[in-house]
Amino acid sequence: MSTTHPPTGPGASAAPAVEARGVSRTFDSRSGEVVALTGVDLTVRAGEFVALIGPSGCGKSTLLRLIADLDQPTAGELTVFGRTPRAARQNQDYGIAFQQAGLLPWRTVRANVELPLELHGTGRAARGARARELLDLVGLAEFAEHHPHQLSGGMQQRVAIARALAESPSLLLMDEPFGALDEMTREHMQTELLRLRAETGAAVVFVTHSIPEAVYLSDRVVVMSARPGRVREIVSVALGDAADRSEDLREDVAFFDRVRAVRESLHGTGNGTGNGTGAGTGTSTGAATGAGRGADAR
């Protein structure tokens, strides 16, 4: 199942975190076939932060679910660390967080973080230690014995992220995890996520609606278009390592420049409706090393 050409770029491990080749997903509906995703080529290197952005219905969540093996592509090839998504899922190669925190209400915060460990047979003592460590990491150590309904939305989401990190995955899949939070909490959580990511070194695939969020967090932003869902352009952000990014970056000229690049790509550069076929690959600066492929799907 492994890909034939593992990337050899500096710092990259044997196989890319995610490799998609011509991935499509169509749904059968009463009114005929709906193409959610078509011909997606995308490579996410190990340790890389990639945001998926696009209008509603562009298939960005669908793509994430395909990577997570919560859904299967109808065509194309998809591998996660060189394995099938199914094998990767069973091997716990990724951790996942959704827009809803999805905590189990009858479990304490600690027991929620321990859930995946418990399901995979980690001993009680080791579970407890790991949960403490993770709750420290997300700054909720003192809430370990609280129940989810006693926590604010932002805190619940932090617990969900701690849970996603429980088994030290090398890939973190996040589907609009901050989408339901207010702007202040959201910016705070973004900075925290950068810190977490710097500490864990995991690759991240991050679905979002927000251009600034995508630019602030990512190494590359995958701009998608709708009907049918496809990759229109991949914009390299190149604003430095996660560890070096801080709130100051939000005021930076380079940041605004990248935000504009993503926005222009999203809106199809001057052409209001932006049809996928005509739009070029844009001016992706700092072409990604290794397997980074500024792909668009034509």
Binding site: R65, A68, D69, L70, R89, Q90, Q92, Y94, I96, F98, Q100, A101, G102, L103, L104, P105, W106, L115, P116, L119, H120, H147, P148, H149, G153, Q156, A180
Partner: protein
Amino acid sequence: MRRAVVGAAGVLALALLWEGYKLLAPDDGVVVGDVTVLPRANDVAMPHLWDMVARAFEPVSSATGAPPLWLAVLQASAFTLGVAAVGWVVGVVVGLLVATVMQRFRTAASALLPWVVLSQTVPLIALAPLVRRWGSQLETGALDWQDWMSVAVIASYLAFFPVSVGALRGFSSPDAVHLDLMRSYGVGWWRTFGRLRAPAAVPYLLPALRLAAANAVVGTVVAEVSIGLRGGVGRMIVEFGASASADPAKQWSPIAGAVLVGLVAAGACALVGLALARYRVSEVS
């Protein structure tokens, strides 16, 4: 404390209503044309409450050494409670099994659910003799089929229905995000069931258990009558009712006994709810 006071006030209001009606209504009831629109209030139809209480402390019959009525009723109530409890447990187990199968296999849900609903339209009276006859043909091996078992089977027949419907709803209640999460952990149906579906079903299950308990008690009392099982409060109500014109206060003791059985059953369900309290915390997003 406040709830206890309100509860006592409710009982008192009921007693006042009884005695008040008896005081105000004509002895032969209110008759419009040939139709009695309000019941008779004479001492045979509506004995005074204090007469009922006084009767409860007299011997159950004129035979020498007969126990006081209240003791006989209490023993009969305990018997009925026991049979109802067996019926309840069997009904809950069967209901949970049916719900589990329906949750696991969607085709089973479409195949079984109509029958589950249909089963409750069969009148209890029609069922009782059948169950008894089938049971008596079951005398194989060590199991000697007793009439009380037939009564328990009928009680369980009424009890399983709310449990299976409530549990099925509960098992299907987890959000898509929770199911996705369990799938992402690579765990199978059984573990998803144990860690997610079963705990999530608790808020749906508790009212179902309470309904099942009420059904089991009613089923037991009625089945005791239609099967003719001695020793329980159901049979006692019928027997004492037959001699109501001579001893009108007597039959109210076993009726009170039936109420007591219902209260104990409801109390037991409340205890189950208490034991499962941690699964009843409000749902979060």
